[in-house]
């Protein structure tokens, strides 16, 4: 199993960690090494079958979600037990402060935490961050204030959720629970054991966002991060990465906004940095970079009120970094499905597989809408593009689409937004309408007065929308029927055929789009998929490493997989095979995959979209 899942103790687990342990609990999937004597042709046919199932008009990952959901029910109950335990621990000590000290040596920046308060719980040293010797959660008698604060927070978050979403109420309920473990702080053992933290703070050291825990209680920690960044800056240098044992602390400075990721997930530095860039982009999408001016005028500027109610947007983005089941979706009947999103490192988007004619028809309708003065018209099904049309010459960056889709799936229906890759300084207005539970239309315009016009556009678009002829009961792209029918699990998720192709991702460099296969059974569990995702991330980073690359091919065999990567001017192919796969066969299969992609490209890609130039 994964090396990054070794140190889990039951009490330390949360979303990601839970997923992994769930993987452990399941009986290990038999890695049936199927090196039988079937001819290569047979094996290629098997793959062909597998490939053709992708072209079915369904989102690729529906079935896996259904089978995974039972695991997560269990996980949730474990999670709430953990919450109880933490709650008990907290109420027994009561806390409102923490203390740490920054010191410097001539050689390097380190962080030392000084336990000032006697009787503070001393954190075990098995995990945690640089200089974890005894961070203190200092005990004070102000436990009364703690309770009051919790109450206020609860009010705050539910008010923030009143923003209204055109989704159903069960997913609404999920938003409220979205920020988990809000009363943790850096003194909490559970907080320190989390595998991946994200922080946003201002250049004066004031906390803006933390993935886990209450931002205000983390004010001291936030100050420490600012001190480290500023100390290095004072020396005319820049801190990018600090390694501390298994942990990486990655820093990203964006003017007055500091972003930090602390992770022991063994993801490459470049990936983590890319994730921080996206996190920053998401913030810009909500507020634009006009923020910088506010900080210029007033370094004390507190932007947290402006971000009110958007925690779900950030948490869901962070979850999508992990190729991990969208928690939110799991508890809402209408939102089942995976949010695996290699787009977070591929800088490409993916399309809903569709008959060419159907996509063309959708494109024509969107073009009509765009001609009426809309900047972009995008028809999407969750994170998959059905069609997209822009005003002449206007182009959308895949990163912007990722951030937009993430925002749309977690928020309001008419809202000012900013596309950081398009123009980070100013707002556009996004009108979002859900055609069914998963399919939505986004119209972007520069006019804040355009609401009614956009509504008309939407009605027009809906009238002419190409309902798939095979769809039943009116769902546009009949994703839902597929799910309902999936009790029978009739779909083919083999072991990858005799040649052992377990999974692949194909990225078209001309189109900035990708297509990925479903997972063969040896990588069917969420934990295995996440590990594979991380392996791809590493592969991607090493192929794109500017210092030693760029490379054209890479063949890598370890105890988990054979990974094959092939980069040309036109495309990038990432494929995972059985660890015993034969190199020559693997290469032939990759060729076959590429050929197949070319054969069906008008169904799996959006062709003829406005050229993307940046």
């Amino acid at each position: 199993m994964a090396s990054d899942s070794t140190s889990n103790s039951p009490s330390s687990e949360e979303e990601e960690e839970e997923a992994e342990s769930a993987g452990h609990q399941k009986p290990n999937v038999d890695v049936n090494v199927n090196v039988n004597t079937n001819s290569i042709d047979n094996s290629l046919d098997a793959i062909e079958n597998q490939l053709s199932s992708i072209a079915l008009k369904t989102s690729i990952d529906e079935r896996a979600a259904v089978s995974a959901s039972t695991d997560y029910d269990r996980i949730e109950s474990v999670g709430s037990e953990i919450d109880d335990v933490i709650e008990r621990r907290r109420s027994s000590i009561g806390e409102s402060s923490s203390s740490r000290a920054l010191w410097r040596s001539n050689l390097e920046v380190e962080v030392e935490l000084e336990a000032e308060a006697d009787g503070a719980p001393v954190s075990p040293s098995s995990s945690g961050y640089a200089g974890e010797r005894g961070s203190s959660s200092s005990v004070t008698s102000a436990s009364g204030t703690g309770d009051a604060i919790r109450e206020v927070r609860d009010n705050g978050s539910s008010m923030g959720d009143d923003g209204g979403v055109s989704l159903d109420s069960s997913s609404q309920a999920q938003w409220i629970r979205d920020k988990r473990h809000a009363d943790e702080d850096d003194g909490s053992v559970s907080w320190r054991r989390r595998k991946k933290h994200f922080f946003i703070l201002s250049h004066s050291g004031k906390p803006i966002y933390s993935r886990y825990g209450d931002e205000h209680k983390l004010a001291g920690f936030s100050a420490t991060l600012q001190a480290i960044i500023s100390f290095v800056e004072n020396g005319g240098d820049r801190v990018k990465l600090v390694r501390a044992g298994k942990h990486q602390v990655v820093f990203l400075v964006k003017g007055p906004i500091y972003l930090v990721c602390i992770s022991c997930t063994e993801e490459p530095y470049e990936s983590l940095r890319g994730q921080l860039e996206l996190l920053y982009g998401q913030m810009i999408l909500i507020l634009t970079r006009s923020l910088d001016r506010c900080f210029e005028k007033n370094p004390k500027f507190d932007m947290t009120p402006l971000l009110g109610g958007t925690e779900a947007v950030f948490s869901s983005l962070i979850r999508s970094f992990s190729w991990f089941v969208f928690f939110l979706e799991l508890f809402s009947l209408s939102f089942q499905g995976h949010q695996r999103n290699p787009a977070t490192f591929l800088h490409a988007y993916t399309c809903l597989p569709l008959a060419y004619a159907t996509r063309q028809a959708a494109g024509a309708i969107l073009q009509d809408v765009a001609d009426s003065g809309v900047l972009f018209a995008i028809l999407m099904c969750k994170n998959k593009v059905v069609s997209l049309v822009g005003l002449q010459k206007a182009s959308l960056h895949p990163d912007d689409m990722l951030l937009l889709a993430n925002f749309v799936m977690t928020s309001e229906s008419f809202s000012p937004i900013c596309l950081p890759r398009y123009n980070p300084m100013a707002f556009l207005y996004a009108y979002v309408h859900y055609l069914d539970v998963e399919t939505y239309l986004i119209l972007l315009t520069t006019s804040s007065q355009a609401f009614f016009h956009l509504k008309e556009c939407r009605q027009h678009a809906y009238r002419g929308c190409p309902v798939d002829p095979s769809a039943r009961s009116g769902s546009l792209f009949h994703l839902n029927q597929r799910r309902l029918a999936s009790d029978s699990h009739e779909t083919f998720t083999g072991i990858g055929g005799p040649a052992g192709l377990w999974h692949f991702i194909y990225r078209s460099n001309y189109l900035d789009q990708y297509v990925s296969s479903e997972f063969a059974s040896p990588v069917s569990s969420p934990a295995q998929q996440k590990r594979l995702y991380r392996a791809y991330q590493k592969l991607y980073a090493s192929m794109h490493n500017k210092e030693v690359g760029p490379h054209k091919t890479q063949f890598r065999r370890d105890e988990n997989y054979v990974l094959l990567c092939w980069v040309t001017q036109d495309f990038e192919l990432y494929a995972a095979f059985d660890p015993l796969a034969d190199k020559g066969v693997a290469i032939r299969i990759c060729n076959r995959v590429c050929q197949w992609v070319k054969d069906v490209e008008n169904e799996i890609f959006l062709l003829g979209a406005s050229p993307f130039s940046w």
Binding site: V139, N155, F221, Y422, N423
Partner: protein, 206 residues
């Protein structure tokens, strides 16, 4: 909702080494006092949540090192401060004389928008020592200096006995609240499609 929202206040504590900055902070946050002197290295950060006039505050207290060799930490530490606490030891004249330097240094480094009205608080610490017999800075003298600098509030404190510590920090919160800027309306521009083309071509980093 805006009026109920929690505020985070960045509070910087400055003063010569050994005047009791860390002790004051510990007394305030942890209600503990230790006679042992340990020099702060670089800076130390504490947080404390307080309720004041029906509002919740988080004080993010930056306890800086008094020794000169740490002064290079400069701008970064002072940036965006909501309040600055100047501490001297009433038994050491030099620590009182230094207040002027600390104040000016702070105003230079932090360069607040309105330096005249930036909220300072002055604390004369260690009033308990020797029953007050070794005292060299009189209350009158300290208050006169505070008055000359725009009526800075002054408190006589003892970190050891917890005297006036709570009151002093409450004043800090009140001061910062008074200084709270008017709620600004955040209104970035909307993209002008014609202009956007230009901006994009110049702003594209990839």
């Amino acid at each position: 909702m805006a009026s109920r929202r929690r505020m985070l206040l960045k509070v910087i504590i400055l003063g010569d080494s050994g005047v009791g900055k860390t002790s004051l902070m510990n007394q305030y946050v942890n209600r503990k006092f230790s006679n042992q002197y340990k020099a702060t290295i670089g800076a130390d950060f504490l947080t404390k949540e307080v309720q004041f006039e029906d509002r919740l505050f988080t004080l993010q207290i930056w306890d800086t090192a008094g020794q000169e060799r740490f002064q290079s930490l400069g701008v970064a530490f002072y940036r965006g401060a909501d309040c600055c606490v100047l501490v001297h030891d009433v038994n050491v004249m030099k620590s009182f004389d230094s207040l002027n330097n600390w104040r000016e240094e702070f105003l230079i480094q932090a360069s607040p928008a309105d330096p005249e009205n930036f909220p300072f608080v002055v604390l004369g610490n260690k009033v308990d020592v020797d029953g007050g017999n070794s005292r060299v800075v009189s209350e009158k003298k300290a208050k006169a200096w505070c008055a000359s600098k725009g009526n800075i509030p002054y408190f006589e404190t003892s970190a050891k006995e917890g005297l006036n510590v709570e009151a002093a920090f409450e004043c800090i919160a009140r001061n910062a609240l008074k200084n709270e800027p008017e709620e600004e309306i955040y209104l970035p521009d909307t993209i002008d499609v014609a202009n956007a083309r230009q901006q994009k071509s110049s702003g594209c980093e990839c």
